[in-house]
Structure formats: C-alpha cells, structure tokens
Amino acid sequence: MKKVQRGEDSRDKAGEQPQGPAPWIASMHDHFQRTGCYRADDLNRLLGDPRDSVAVNADAQVQVHSLASK
C-alpha cells in the first residue's frame, strides 16, 4: 500500500486547482494598467448593472412564528 505523506497529498490536490486568475481577470488588470480604467463589461461582470437592484423580501412568516413562541 502506498503511503501518502501529507505534503504530497496537498500538492496533488493543489495541482487540480486552476493556476492564477481567470483569463478575463488577467485581461481586466492588463487593461486597467494600460488605461487607468476598467472596461464596462468587466464592471458589469464584477459589480453588476447600476440600473439593476438586488431585492430581498423579509419573510413575514418568520416573525409570526417568533411572536407565537413567546
């Protein structure tokens, strides 16, 4: 039976991970270095569309339960 040392094991697992940032992130950083600004596509991908919002509804049912337990 092959004895796997801890270091070797973690190296094997690390080898399965992608190396470095994704190509589009590298491209974004390269563009930023050259121009001092981010491309609209990159910002939309990273931060989202400023015309959109994130909406979360409170769960009214949860409050009913907590009140009922008092």
């Binding site: 991908r45 931060l47 989202g48 569309d49 400023p50 015309r51 979360v56 509804n57 409050q63």
Partner: protein, 291 residues
Amino acid sequence: MLGADSTSSMFVPSGTGAGLFHYFNHNQKLFEVGENSTLGMVTWGLGGLGPVSHRTLIANLDDDMRATPAIPVRNVQDVATRWAGIFWKAYSAQLPVIAPDWAPLLAKSPFVAGAQAPSPQTRTKDEEDRFQALSRDLVVGFCIGGYVLPQRVTTAFTVVFHPNLTAEPIPIVMPMFQCQWFGVPNLILRLINGYDISIVQSLMSSGKWKGTELELRGILDKFQLAHPVLPIRDAIDFVYTSIYSTIKAMKFSTLSQVCGGPIELAVITSDRRFRWVRHKSWDSAIGEDKT
C-alpha cells in the same frame, strides 16, 4: 431606512488616453428633502450634473412643492413623480455638456467584430468601448422614501435615469418589507444569494449544465439568506452591515475602492420625521488624518 456610503469616484484623464481614478470619501449621497421633513432620498451612480449638484436639485424639489401647493402632493408617489420631472429636465440638459460624444455615438450602429469594410455609421471598437462605458457611467438612480401627511403611510419609490431614456422615467414602488441595494449590486447579491448573475450565465454557457436556467436558479435559491420582518433598530443594523460588507468586499478584492468612506443612515418612522442615525460631521474629511 435609507443608507449609503460616501465615496465619490472621479476619472482624471492624463491626456494620452489613459488616466486614473481618484476618490473622495466624504461625498453626500443621502439627503433629507427640505428641513424638518417626512421625506428622504438616497442616490447612486453619477455623482452630479456638472455645475448642478444633486443637493441643489433636491432643495429645488422641496421649494417646488412649497411654491406650487395647487399641484397636490398626496403621497410619496406624487413626490417621486415630481422629482422625476425636475431631475429629467436637468439631466437631459446637462447630458450633452457632461458627455458631448454620447449623442454621436448613439447615432451610430453597434460595432461588429471582423466586419469587412465597416460603414462610417458603425461604431469602431474604441467607440464601442466608449459607448458602453458611458452607458454605465451616466446612470444615476434615486430612492425616495417616507410619508406625506396627513397619511402616515411609509412608502418608497425608485427612479433611475440613464442616457438611453427619451423621457422622464416612471417611479417604481418598493414593496413593503423589501430591502433593495443599488450601485454595486453583485457583491451584496453574492452575500445574500451565494451567487451572482455572472455565475449563472457562466454555468449556462459552460455546456456542463443540462437543465434550464430556471432549474439552476431553483437549486441555487434554496441557499438564499432569509430574514424576518426586523425591528427598526435591527433593520438599521442590517442596512449598516450590508453597506459595510460591500465596502470590505471591494477592499479585499483589490478592486478600486469605489465604495467606502463613512456610512450614513437615516430612518423615517411613521410617528416621527426624518431622523439621522449616522451622519458625518462637516469636518469628517479633516478627521482623516487622525490616528
């Protein structure tokens, strides 16, 4: 509950086509509409209209409501509609001054990669990049909340302006018990949902997901953080924490710090007028050098 960060981002061109972002961390994004008011407003996106500040226009809104009582302001929707008209007039007038290349770029058709002998009426790659940047940079939104006496019914409306509009936008009501985040939506979306829009798009286009987008979202949405209807002080904490988390996400992602500075919070409860929860003092920028 209204809340905002305080960072204002400015692009400083170098003259060679390049440039850099510069940040001021003590800008005002949250306003009381008038004084001793039952209305507040928060803004995101474009920080001003050249010589005309949002602050001035919001004061104009208050002046306008007082000067023309014959035009009824029965509720927050009436206020938001009046604001849409006032801001649209300023926005559409200032757009050619702020971005003189917007209209010529809009008049052209979109860039087509690899097109043979492209028409002069088609945007070049550089023009397309500029067009897309302006489409994003010229967006400005407002959320107006509170109540209008004699009715103590608290409501909020959002109004979003962007350069593709041809007329003032219609205010959109925010449902009761709903929390909305604007400006940098993806980061809070990741925190609340555990994923953002780009991740869904990437999975769909990877070819490794065999179901529909609806089915994918159905699985992912099961992990959404849910919260009950919060007591008011906990709601204040929730809004503060959301803004704080976004600021820190920007910081530790090594992206430009487009969100930061003091967090400002205000509350309008149905029994009281506009109240500041956290409001930076006029010397807050001077205090930056404190250790």
